[in-house]
């Protein structure tokens, strides 16, 4: 048996391999279920029901998937140029902080203006944070994986400090609850982002924004000069320099764009769902890190990112709903892990083929 590089990647492989990978993941998790004494088919049925079919399940899945779509797009934007922005987590926090601040500051202004202000602030917060590893990478050749990762902890602690250890503007110091247990100030009603309901499916503003971002990213990366430069530099930075491309500027631009998208995710968290700066909740959710998985599974394709975000979001959502004595709590984690494992394993078959010698 030998493994050789494919000279040509047939178009159908890009569809078949992910589908087979996900199917494989379910077969493997089914085995895990059998071994632990749970009926696999019934467990899966309940899982899908709770994620996509039951009354209101799909709306909850969209809620869970929206932040993952943002962080997934953020990761994909950078990874396309071989820049590894692992800081989506912290950039999302930064966007949540700036978004919440602007939402509070603009109390009394008409809603659309507040939304616009929060969106701009969230994007700016994420972009500014991402600018730190970007500058270090572009001008001092520092490894952006390390710097962006480490900044996640810095921002996480800043965020906790704002709510738990200080009398900051963002902390609720007036209400009775807020005096008993520290929490963020609730945003005014005009800072609550709109949502639209179609046949019972609730679509929050943030989710629609994510779809717009995905579409813009697709146009930017596949139709413009900017995208061409990103492709060249991602493939070979030396070839980019040789062709006279401004590689440093491109690193700055792509990192800040990536940070801005993650920051939008943070603004959407405050505007759409949480309506206050919620450090504990954001930290537990791990949106930024899961976004990296989403981007990898979607092979950095923006539309696939949105779909995969909904899939993983659905699993998370179902996990929450079903948690209890009769449902294995770890199952959702196991399935997510196996999907990633199978998908990355499947990559091998897209690029290489296995031949059996006789």
């Amino acid at each position: 048996m030998r493994i050789e590089r494919r000279l040509r990647q047939p178009w159908w492989l890009a569809v078949v391999v992910p589908v087979v990978s996900i199917a494989g993941a379910f077969v493997l998790s089914g085995l895990v279920l059998l071994l632990t004494g749970y009926p696999p088919l019934r467990s899966f049925h309940r899982l899908f029901d709770a994620a996509f079919i039951a009354n209101g399940a799909l709306s909850d899945t969209v809620v869970a998937g929206t932040p993952l779509a943002f962080t997934g797009l953020a990761a994909a934007v950078a990874f396309r140029m071989n820049i590894f922005n692992i800081g989506g987590e912290g950039q999302l926090y930064a966007g949540a902080i700036t978004g919440a601040t602007v939402g509070l500051l603009m109390a009394g202004t008409p809603s659309p203006l507040v939304f616009a202000g929060m969106i701009a602030a969230g994007a700016a917060g994420g972009a500014l944070l991402a600018a730190i590893p970007a500058v270090l990478r572009a001008f001092f050749s520092t490894n952006e994986i390390i710097t962006s990762l480490m900044l996640n902890y810095v921002v996480a602690l800043v965020m906790e400090y704002l709510i738990f250890d200080s009398q900051s503007y963002l902390r609720d110091t007036s209400s009775f609850q807020g005096k008993v247990f520290p929490q963020g100030k609730t945003l005014p009603a005009e800072a609550t982002w709109s949502s639209w309901t179609i046949h019972g499916l609730v679509l929050p503003l943030g989710f629609l924004l994510a779809i717009v971002v995905a579409a813009l990213m697709w146009v930017l990366y596949s139709r413009t000069r900017f995208g061409f430069e990103v492709q060249v530099i991602g493939d070979s930075a030396r070839a980019g320099r040789y062709a006279g491309m401004r590689t440093r500027r491109k690193i700055l631009a792509v990192m800040c764009l990536s940070g801005a998208i993650a920051g939008l995710g943070g603004a959407s968290q405050t505007g759409d769902f949480r309506h206050q700066l919620d450090p504990r909740g954001l930290r537990q959710a791990n949106y930024g890190y899961t976004g990296i998985v989403v981007a990898a599974l979607a092979r950095y394709n923006p539309f696939a990112v949105v779909l995969v975000a909904l899939l993983l979001g659905g699993l998370t959502n179902a996990g929450f709903t079903l948690q209890g004595a009769d449902f294995p709590a770890g199952l959702v984690g196991v399935i997510q892990g196996l999907i990633l494992f199978c998908a990355l394993g499947g990559e091998l078959f897209v690029r290489y083929r296995v031949r059996f010698a006789w």
């Binding site: 139709r223 492709q231 493939d235 030396r238 070839a239 320099r241 040789y242 062709a243 006279g244």
Partner: protein, 517 residues
């Protein structure tokens, strides 16, 4: 001084290959090849890139197993399960890229692969090894200090260590893969002496090369491979460069034919004035280089690899900052360190590293053709790219330059070296340049590819372009250039008109010797 054994038929066959066939997914690399070499014979393997030389030597050294055919070693049919088996059977290879551990000493490297003798013992006894290495190097004229560390040695010395390694393991059959590619003419002559001594000792030397005059100078017999087949085995003494070249490519080629007819030499297009630049380690690699290239002429830069040629090219094209001095194109001075400035000034550049610098390997041929022209019309309008235009341009290049591929969407890494170089040439010429910097533009290409590149370079000069040709292949420079500058340790140590220069003089300059003037 031709080959020692002459045309007399081999007496005792050391190694014979019978009907060796090796298939790879897309090609038959070796197609029922018969080959034999006698003890005491220097046998040259001659062929273009892709003719099957490397595959054949990989089979001989146990790296590949043949699909069909047999290896007969000293009259015994042998099968190698691994490279170790081949080594134990007395077959050693000196690769083009050395397999040495650079912080180790010469003696340590020599004993590295040894699992029979002192290398097997738990404790190293350096003194014994060093003595043996000294004895071998005296006997075969391989001057090298056994206690020196590899990184302190020149490329030529490192090659001697590789040969010592083979001799230390008492290899009866040595395969040398293009051993002179990295050597100065003087070093190459010394190597030929060593090869003769080894042959007189009864060892078999298989000498892989695509340089005709070397094969004539050192080999007893020559086997010519073409497209995986062995097309002929002839005594070296009877062969002429022309006949060998014809066998190699299957048609008659101009050998060393120098076309003198040139357009008139024009105004200076590229002026280097006391250029200094740092190398990758931050120490000066280009020292005070001044050169003028006029429109319509080809100026060669000769030198052994690593004497600042690569850095000089990168400095001219803006990929490496100038630390002092000036570069001017058509009389306009560049600020330096900016490839885009150099491109718009009219400098075209064929980089030494084709795949990775010259093209983005994962991108399509089409994308690589517009790599420098994507910024403006007609390839893009405003921020948007026009894909239909890119396809048109790519289709035209594929036709005009005869790029062998199935279409413009094929990723560049799938192209062969020669076709890749055509894509690079097409793109560079499309920018309407005034000067072309070509760094080792034919490295790794086969004879047909080399011819193509040469004819494009000649063509460029005849249309009035100034060409700066950097090459380690002196023959190439002598056959193409009007003038030649020799670089040694970062500086230009001599400049000659090609008409008056001799190979010996240039070789001396390349090796750091002073010539008479």
């Amino acid at each position: 001084m031709g080959g020692g054994g002459g045309a007399s038929p081999p007496t005792s066959i050391a190694v014979a290959l019978r009907g060796i066939t090796k298939r790879f997914p897309a090609v038959v690399a070796n197609d029922s090849i018969d080959f034999d070499a006698a003890a005491g014979e220097v046998h040259a393997l001659l062929g273009e890139n892709g003719a099957g030389k490397t595959t054949l030597s990989n089979i001989l050294t146990g790296l590949y197993r043949p699909d069909e055919g047999a290896i007969v070693l000293f009259g015994q049919r042998t099968e190698f399960q691994s490279p170790r088996d081949a080594l134990d059977a007395g077959i050693a290879m000196v690769h083009q890229h050395f397999r040495l551990v650079s912080p180790f000493t010469v003696a340590e490297n020599v004993v590295l692969g040894d699992h029979r003798d002192v290398g097997r013992s738990f404790l190293l006894r350096p003194r014994a090894i060093e003595e043996r290495v000294e004895e071998l190097s005296r006997r075969y004229g391989l001057a090298v200090e056994p206690r020196a560390r590899i990184w302190q040695l020149s490329v030529g010395e490192q090659q001697r260590v590789e040969i010592l390694k083979a001799l230390y393991q008492d290899a009866r059959i040595l395969i040398l893969d293009e051993p002179t590619a990295v050597l100065t003419p003087q070093e190459a002559d010394a190597l030929f002496d060593t090869i003769r001594v080894m042959a007189e000792d009864g060892r078999t030397v298989i000498f892989i090369s695509h340089k005709l005059h070397e094969v004539k100078a050192v080999a007893d017999r020559v086997t010519v491979l073409r497209r995986g087949k062995s097309v002929a085995t002839v005594p070296a003494a009877d062969a002429t460069p022309r006949s060998l070249a014809a066998l190699m490519v299957g048609r008659e080629l101009e050998v060393g034919g120098r076309s003198v007819e040139r357009g008139p030499v024009g105004e200076p297009v590229l002026e280097l004035d006391g250029v200094w630049a740092d190398g990758d380690r931050g120490v000066p690699a280009v020292k005070d280089v001044s050169l003028t290239i006029r429109g319509g002429e080809i100026v060669g830069v000769a030198g052994v690899a690593g004497n600042g040629q690569r850095e000089l090219a990168e400095t001219i094209v803006g990929m490496r900052p100038l630390t002092n001095g000036g570069v001017a194109v058509s009389g306009r001075r560049l600020s330096g360190g900016d490839p885009r400035e150099a491109i718009s000034a009219g400098i075209a550049y064929i980089p030494e590293d084709r795949l990775g610098t010259g093209v983005a390997p994962g991108l399509s041929i089409g994308s690589n053709i517009v790599l420098k022209s994507y910024r403006g019309a007609p390839v893009s309008t405003g921020p948007m790219l026009r894909f239909a235009r890119i396809r048109e341009l790519a289709d035209r290049v594929i036709d005009d330059y005869d790029v062998r591929t199935s279409g413009p969407d094929v990723p560049a890494w799938q192209l062969s070296g020669g076709n890749l170089q055509k894509v690079v040439l097409a793109r560079e010429f499309s920018g309407a340049p005034v000067v072309l910097v070509a760094a080792s533009p034919t490295r790794g290409l086969d004879v047909a590819g080399i011819e193509t590149v040469h004819s494009y370079l000649r063509g460029a000069a005849s249309t009035g372009l100034g060409v700066l040709l950097i090459s380690e292949d002196l023959d190439e420079i002598l056959s193409l250039a009007d003038r030649v500058a020799v670089m040694y340790e970062g500086g230009v140590v001599g400049e000659r008109d090609v008409g008056t220069a001799t190979v010996e003089e240039l070789g001396l300059l390349m090796a750091g010797g002073k010539s008479e003037d």
